[in-house]
Symmetry: none
Subunit: 252 residues, 2 copies
Amino acid sequence: MLTEERHQLIRDQLAADGKVLAGELASRFGVSEDTVRRDLRELAKAGQLRRVYGGAVASAPFAAATLGQRSRHAVEEKTRLARAAVGLLSAGQSLFIDGGTTNEAIARAIPRDMELTVATNSLGVASALTDLPLVELIVLGGRYVPDLGTCVGADTLVAVAQLGADLFFLGSCGLDVARGVTAFDSAEAEVKRAMAKNSAGIVIAVTNDKLATAAPYRVAGADAIRHLVVEKTAPSATLADFQSRGAQVHFA
Amino acid sequence: MLTEERHQLIRDQLAADGKVLAGELASRFGVSEDTVRRDLRELAKAGQLRRVYGGAVASAPFAAATLGQRSRHAVEEKTRLARAAVGLLSAGQSLFIDGGTTNEAIARAIPRDMELTVATNSLGVASALTDLPLVELIVLGGRYVPDLGTCVGADTLVAVAQLGADLFFLGSCGLDVARGVTAFDSAEAEVKRAMAKNSAGIVIAVTNDKLATAAPYRVAGADAIRHLVVEKTAPSATLADFQSRGAQVHFA
DNA sequence: CTGCTTCTTGCATGAACAGGCAAAACATGC
DNA sequence: GCATGTTTTGCCTGTTCATGCAAGAAGCAG
């Protein structure tokens, strides 16, 4: 049995069942589980499936899976970032918070006794804030994009234009010193730009994998970032670049 | 059974029923309750559900609060109403859906393969619809009112004014033949009136306890109701009054 | 208050895992 | 044909992960 043959059969079963078990594949192919695990590792590296304990599941057939997958990834890190980011807040401030799992974690980390005004176009962030009694929540409506978990479009832009905020928590973006803050979607970038324009300061909290990456649509230059919240393990050279552009760096 | 599989099944049931019971999941999955609780803890940490004593509920804001308090016993009735109400839909329609637990149940009851355009000012309804691939979701933003679970205010009215719908699912109101459809809050009533004005037909699904009751703020007259979805046990005298005003009565 | 259920925490066990190593199969060059 | 290098594979070793069990804490009902 050829390696490539096994890979194809694994892909086939994933397409059919949505999952595969390492042990089951091993006995079906007549090879050891180690070999199967190696196959799964390779396919996972190629992004064709997602490795889980005991086997693997289809990587991202549905949007829900994508969002769920992203949010399960690096939960610990994002919670730590969120706690550090919340430390930047003071009572009575008004905020823009846009989409992304890190921003949702930040919303969940806001203490119950903090008085804030928050405007968000992310349903996840909004949900997290509904329980907080002292938060005045303004939902920025518009066309909802499942992949992003946020509302975008002309209606959203109009709603943003009528508001101002002390801080803008800008999420789910690429971050590169030369190219600045970038987004993956045109409409999403527009909303981010509008929020940035109406905010006194921008806060970005990112995991290491977002650092030194860029996406197609430019949102703002690196010098627009006031606070940058990163993991302790973030490469210091990159951080120094951002600091020289005026960003305060906070370690989670 | 993969851990990942259980998580997905839990998410599925939450999307369908709005709640899960730890013991019931344990026996269904063939694992100990400890394992289920661990699953629930993880999903809660990722913000995908909300932990409650005995199990978990959907993290949707309003659903959690009300499922906990106001209508724990009426869940089944509302699910039945929802199924009947969904029967009034046809593919390609556009809808307004406002707030209330009954409307959230209706949103959850919409089949995955139905193509619709839905505009809502309820975060609970919006959350329930985010998973449906064929639903174009428009969020009507504005100032969020935790008690209602909906957005209201001038921004919301502006957003509503730009849209039109075939049907308007009007929720959480008092219903009386003489006083018509009434709401408990002034701003809420304004939004409902705006939605009613821009809709071709109004659908109201109510449990018996809402029948023949009235709230302070008038939304529409009884003759504006096109479809009335009620429990089988609803008092026929009251229903006859509504029918004489032009409403079609549907039993759940 | 009392008794019951549910929940969290810590722990032990077995399964699943990654990395290193060596043998076998295969290809390549002389 | 023979030697050499590469790839694939299975096995071994220590590590990580998932799970069930037990004990104590917390929540709920009467």
